[in-house]
Each structure stands twice: as C-alpha cells, then as structure tokens.
C-alpha cells in the first residue's frame, strides 16, 4: 500500500500524540466525576477548571463564558436554538448566511417549524456576505444573527469584526461558527464582536466528541440538554474530562505554532493552486483568493463530477473531499457553491483539498502530478467535453 496523502483536514485532523498523553491520565487513574466531594473528584474538577481557563484566555474571554459541549455541531445547535428560545419574547426573526454549515442551516430550518422566521443572507461570487444586505435584513423582531467565521468548503473568511460592530449598535445577539478558524487563525471574541462562538477540538488536532460554545456574559440562552447542573445549568451531563483536557491542550499547541504553520501552509496552498491551474484547463478556484483560510483549496473541474474525481484520487492514495464530508460519502451539489451562483452541473464537479500541519511539499507535488491524468481521462469519457470548447466559466 502506497503512502496516503491526507488532504481533508477541514473534515478532521489527526490528534497530536502530546494531546493523547495529556488525556490518558483522565481515562485511567484520574477517573473521578468532577461533581464529587472527594480528592479524586477534585483532581478532575481542577483539570476541567484549568482547561476552561486556558480556552477562555486564548479566545480573550472569561472562564465562565465557556461551555463545553460534545462537539461543534452541538455548540452550533446550542447557540442557535438556545438564543432563539431564550429571546422569543423579544421577537422571532433570525438571520443566517446561505453558506452556513448544516449544523446552523438545518437548525434554522427546524426553527421555522416552531414559529421563527429565518432570512438566508445571500453571498457574492467569492462567498462574502454583504454588510448592506445584512443591515437591510434586520428588523425590530431580529433576535439572532449567525454568520460563520470561515466557510468549511471554500475557506472564505467573513468580515466578522465589521458585522460585530453593526450588530453591537443594534444590540442583536451575534453567533459565529468558528469551527474552521479556532486554532488556525487568530480568534478573539472582542475583536470579532461576537456574543456566541462555536469551536470543535478535532479540527485542531484534538480529540473528537468535544467542543465548546463561548457565551458572552449577559447573553441569554436556553439549555438543550437538561439534567445535572453542569456548565452553569447550561449543558447537563457528566463532564468529558479527558476530552476537555485534550481540547485545551490541542488548542494551546495549535496557537503556539499558528504563525509558522499558517505561513508554511499558505505557501503550499499557492503552490497547489498554481500547479493545478497551470497543468489543467477549465478549472475554477471557488471562494475568495485572499480572504481565505491558508489551508483551503476548492476547485471546480468543468465537465466532470467531483464524485468520480474523488474515487480516482482515493485509488491513487489521495484523500480529498467534495464540499462537506458530513454526508457519508454521497454527493449532492454543494449548497455553498450553488449560493456562489455556480450552475448545478458545475457545482457537481468540485474538489476540496485542505492542507494540515503534516502536509509536505512532496504531498502537494504528488497531487499536482496525479490530478491532470485523472481529469483528462474523465473528461475524455464525458459527453459534455469538447477540448476546443470555450470555457463557460472563464479563467
């Protein structure tokens, strides 16, 4: 079996060995329930407290503003449903961007069944929301705005800080899904001006099954999970101590290495984009060229389906994805690419390559080497393809 080239870091990342080392004691000898009164419990409680302090400090928040959850999707659900239910006396209007992760988008859709009305804010052709459009969408009934920090498919980074200023003036609670950015680019809740912020440990080399929601002091949310009084009555359930410790350890290390890693990945990203676009005709880069996560590449190859491309890459040992990997290997045209205004058949042909700290220049070069052959062969089979045809999408 040849070496696997892993280019799907936006879907999940390999856990750092140091993170596992930090977690292991809490799965073995330090097994206490933090709610207990005895020494074993106090050790566990101290570990959770310390982790909470570290996460808060990195985000520029207070410890009491951090709620640990079972992951990014739960954090998004808690933010959107929690704020909607807590504010329903003030109004019933929610604004989300059209390119949110399904954890926000489908949650908003579900709220429509419970009497809330939702505005799905369009984006421009590089995936940016417009502040003017947002300002116009706001009504006296608006009780929540949720706009993701960076998109998981195309890597476009939104002007969250500017949006935050606008919403602060109007005193409207503001949530951002920062699952793709925390640990990758600087995230400070005050600079972003957000009241709610979701993050997930396994996106920054931490364990799966643990995430967090930042809730600004004074922002009201209803819990989704009731039970014991954990997380200040906002998220019941015995704390995942090992996971929480792992989250904090992974975040610490990612932030320490952030500068050097992101500089290196940015160079690799540009090498990958240039290499592919120079060797293959009729390719389009999706998303914004500069307001973009340093590790994200998202391309459309005209005349072929992303699905076939992925399967062929897999057979060549390259792990990639087409948009969101959450739909179990089966592909629908991406709602994000459709929102950019791409036609249905082109949105089908997308490929997402996301780099990570383990990615080498050799990996990038190997990918640039195998891709043209696959694309050429698939295009030869495509009834739509004519080598002399002028590209309908430019480049």
């Amino acid at each position: 079996m040849e070496k696997q080239i892993y280019l799907d870091h936006a879907s999940t990342t390999p856990m750092r060995p140091e993170v596992l080392d930090a977690m292991l004691p809490f799965m073995k000898e330090q097994y206490g329930n933090p709610s207990g009164v005895y020494k074993l419990a106090r050790k566990a409680r101290a570990a959770v407290d310390e982790s909470r302090d570290q996460v808060a400090e990195i985000l520029g928040a207070e410890s009491r503003e951090i709620i640990f959850t079972a992951g990014g999707s739960e954090a998004d659900n808690l933010a959107v449903k929690g704020a909607a239910f807590a504010n329903k006396r003030r109004g019933n209007h929610i604004i989300v961007s059209a390119i949110e992760h399904p954890a926000v988008l489908d949650t908003a859709k579900q709220l429509e069944n419970y009497g809330f009305s939702v505005t799905y804010l369009p984006v421009n052709d590089s995936g940016l929301v417009s502040l003017d459009a947002l300002a116009k969408a706001i009504t006296s009934k608006t009780i929540l705005v949720s706009i993701m920090h960076a998109n998981n498919e195309i890597g476009t980074i939104q002007p969250i800080g500017e949006i935050g200023i606008l919403l602060r003036e109007k005193s409207i609670p503001f949530h951002t899904d920062a699952v793709q950015t925390v640990g990758h680019i600087p995230v400070n809740v005050d600079e972003l001006g957000v009241d709610l912020l979701s993050l997930s440990a396994h996106k920054f080399y931490g364990p799966r099954g643990v995430g967090a929601l930042y809730v600004r002091r004074g922002t009201r949310i209803e819990p989704l999970i009731n039970g014991g009084g954990q997380e200040r009555q906002r998220r019941a359930g015995t704390e995942n101590v090992a996971g929480i410790v792992g989250l904090a350890a992974a975040l610490r290390m990612s932030v320490e290495e952030m500068d050097s890693t992101s500089k290196r990945l940015l160079l690799l990203r540009e090498r990958l984009i240039d290499g592919i676009m120079q060797s293959i005709p009729n390719v389009r880069l999706n998303g914004h060229r500069t307001h973009r996560l340093p590790e994200n590449v998202n391309l459309c190859f005209e005349f072929i389906e992303g699905e076939s491309l992925l399967l062929n890459l897999d057979m060549q040992g390259v792990a990639a994805s087409s948009g969101s990997a959450c739909t179990s290997g089966s592909l629908e045209p991406s709602h994000v690419l459709l929102a950019l205004g791409l036609p249905h058949e082109i949105a089908h042909g997308s490929l997402r390559l996301t780099l990570g700290k383990g990615t080498t220049q050799e990996d990038v070069d190997k990918t640039i080497e195998v891709l043209p052959g696959i694309v050429h062969r698939l295009r030869q089979m495509s009834p739509l393809y004519d080598e002399k045809a002028v590209s309908p999408i430019g480049q």
Binding site: E307, S308, L311, N312, D314, M315, Q316, S328, G329, S330, L331, E332, R377, L378, M381
Partner: protein, 363 residues
C-alpha cells in the same frame, strides 16, 4: 494503481446475499474488486424498509465490503434513477401499460449509469449478483446470455437488453451456483448478510403497494371512469385506469354470473374493459424496442420459447419480423399478455432476445 492479473471489476453491491457473495467470489479468484452501491431512493424515503438499495442495504453492503477488505463507494444516482426508472414507471401506468422497472433499471442504471461509473474508475468489468451465465459462442463469436444453473432464481428475463459490448465486460459469478450454495458460502465467509431474506418487491415502492405510490407520485392517476364489457356496456366505475392490470380479477366491484377479468385499458376513453376468462387469453403479441443477443437479427421465422412476464414459464412460439416490431405467435394461447411488460425469447437455455409488448393479438 496496481491491478492484479485478472483485472479490475466493479461489483454492484446491494447489501443482499447475492451481490455480497459475488464480490467475495471475485476477490477469491484474484480480481481487483471495488464495491459500489448506488444511492437511488428518493430523498425522504431513506427510512423505507426493504428494497435493494434502501439505507439499511447500503449499511449492509458497507459492512460486507469492510469484511472483504475491498474499496467501497456509494455513488449518488438519485436523479438518474428518478428520470430513467421512476418517471417512466409512473408514465407507463398512466398510459395504461404495466411496466417492469427492474428491466428499466438493468438497462439504464446497472448497465448504464453504473457502467459509466465503472469506466470512470478504470474498471475492466462490471459484476452483479444476477443468476445468469455469459458465454462466448466459439463459432459466431457472439456473447450469449444463458439461464443460470438455478432455474428457480433465473434472472435472464430482466437482462435481455444487454448489448454485446456490455456482455463482453460483465461478470455474473453466481451463474453456476444454486441459491442454497450461495447462502452456504455466505455463512462460510462469515458475511453479516447470510440470512437476509430475498428481496422480491419493487425497491422504490413501499410495501409493494404500487397504487398508493402512484397516487402520491402522480395525483392525476386518480381519474374515475367506467368499467365496461367488451360490447361497451357500463358495468361499474373505476378509480383510474392506472390502478388496473390485464388479467386482474379482484377489486373490480362488479357482481356478475361468471368471473370477470380486466382484458383491456383504454386511456383515451378512460375505460377499464372487462371480459370472461377466455377473453384474457391471446394467441400472440407484437413487441417493439427489440434487443437481440444470440443472433444479430431475425431474418426468417424462428421457433422459440417465449416468456411474457418474470414469473411465468416460457411457452412455445414462433417469431416473425414485421414492419413495426416482432410478432410472437404462441402454439397455445397465453393468459394476460400485458402491454408494457417484456417478452423474452429463449432457445434452450440461451436468450435469443426480447422486446416490450405493445399489444396482444387475437389471431
């Protein structure tokens, strides 16, 4: 990619016993095997039970692929399946015909869209768990489709549309086995699906209730009209011709001295025509959309065995080419010749060809 001596084969895995064992047998005999499951059920129907490609079936297929340690992919063919199978299925009923969706699926999906996927994966062959045999005739060099050894499971009827090119690149590893042997093999291999019951129904029609399915898919199918006898006398009312098939006796809601059967569906007049037992029998039929397998074309009359639906025995008949299609003239009149179904002709255990029935012929 490294391919072993025998080449790469994409196996269409449904999650059932047959395609699972097919994949296992191919792997054992040295092929480079890739498992593929088509996602075809309409959105919102994922939880429906049974069927060859339900969500449960995909999960079963995935487990089998993991057990066999072969690459496995799920490909999205929802749109294609809807356009090429479900819509024609619905339209046929609305036009007074009784379709066979398995034949449409084999032609347009398994050996159409899935075929294309396999090519895209650089495969040399496509394989399925059908009980049938492919052989090359040493004299004519044509690829011949033959009934599998297990006559009770024979599936050649639904495969008559295969082209020579498809037959040359298709493997049916189960053709030489009996169903019981396949189950036994599944047990030996420890496949998690060894005891799954055979699927019989139409995979996209819940509970095998095509009438409810039609009403949901095509509300216009509910179009009440008259039930008339062969002289045009009104005998009762019907709910829409789409809900009736030739030969049907139950559910007519008419009391008559002798049992009455549906003998015709007239969409233009919106009439269901009923008649006596004898009126359900036809001396012959005309078929169109012909595909020949053992012969390149029919030049002169030919004596064959003709099978007019999946679960009937072939009957002796004479084939004759006419301007619009091919006539099948039976030695003995056959019951319920049904427009929309396929007729498949056999010579011995080999498929001569087949076509879609347009009309029964009385003499």
């Amino acid at each position: 990619m490294t391919t072993m001596g025998k080449g790469t084969v994409v196996v269409a895995m449904s999650g059932g016993v047959d395609s699972s064992v097919a994949a296992a047998l191919l792997k054992q005999s040295g092929y480079n095997v890739i498992g593929l499951t088509m996602e075809i059920w309409p959105v919102g129907m994922e939880d429906a039970d049974g069927g060859c490609c339900s969500l449960d079936a995909v999960e079963d297929a995935r487990r089998v692929a993991a057990k066999l340690d072969i690459p496995y992919y799920v490909v999205n063919m929802r749109d294609t399946f809807s356009e090429e199978v479900i819509q024609p299925f619905t339209e046929a009923y609305l036009e007074g015909r009784t379709p066979n969706p398995c034949i449409m699926c084999n032609r347009n999906i398994k050996f159409g869209a899935l075929w294309q996927k396999a090519l895209e994966l650089n495969a040399d062959y496509v394989a399925t768990g059908h009980y049938a045999i492919i052989e090359q005739d040493p004299a004519t060099k044509r690829y011949i489709l033959k009934q599998g050894r297990d006559q009770t499971k024979d599936q050649t009827y639904a495969l008559y549309n295969m082209t020579q090119k498809q037959l040359a690149h298709t493997l049916f590893p189960l053709g030489e086995f009996e169903k019981d042997e396949i189950r036994e093999k599944a047990h030996q291999l420890g496949l998690p699906v060894a005891d799954k019951p055979d699927s019989q129904e139409i995979c996209f029609v819940p509970n095998d209730d095509y009438r409810t399915f039609l009403q949901e898919q095509a509300p216009e199918s509910h179009r009440p009209g008259d039930i008339v006898d062969m002289e045009g006398n009104r005998l009762g009312r019907h709910e829409g011709v789409a809900f009736y098939t030739i030969g049907q006796r139950r559910g007519l809601g008419i009391s008559a001295p002798e049992p009455l059967y549906v003998v015709g569906l007239d969409v233009e007049k919106n009439q269901v025509i009923v008649g006596s037992q004898t009126a359900v029998f036809a001396q012959g039929l005309r078929a169109v959309d012909i595909n020949w397998i053992s012969i390149p074309e029919l030049k002169e009359e030919m004596q064959v065995q003709a099978k007019i639906r999946y679960n009937t025995k072939p009957a002796p008949a004479l084939l004759r080419t006419v301007e619009q299609g091919v006539l099948t003239i039976f030695e003995v009149p056959q019951r319920a010749v049904t427009p929309g179904q396929s007729v498949v002709w056999y010579k011995g255990d080999a498929v001569v060809g087949g076509g879609i029935i347009v009309e029964p012929m009385s003499s």
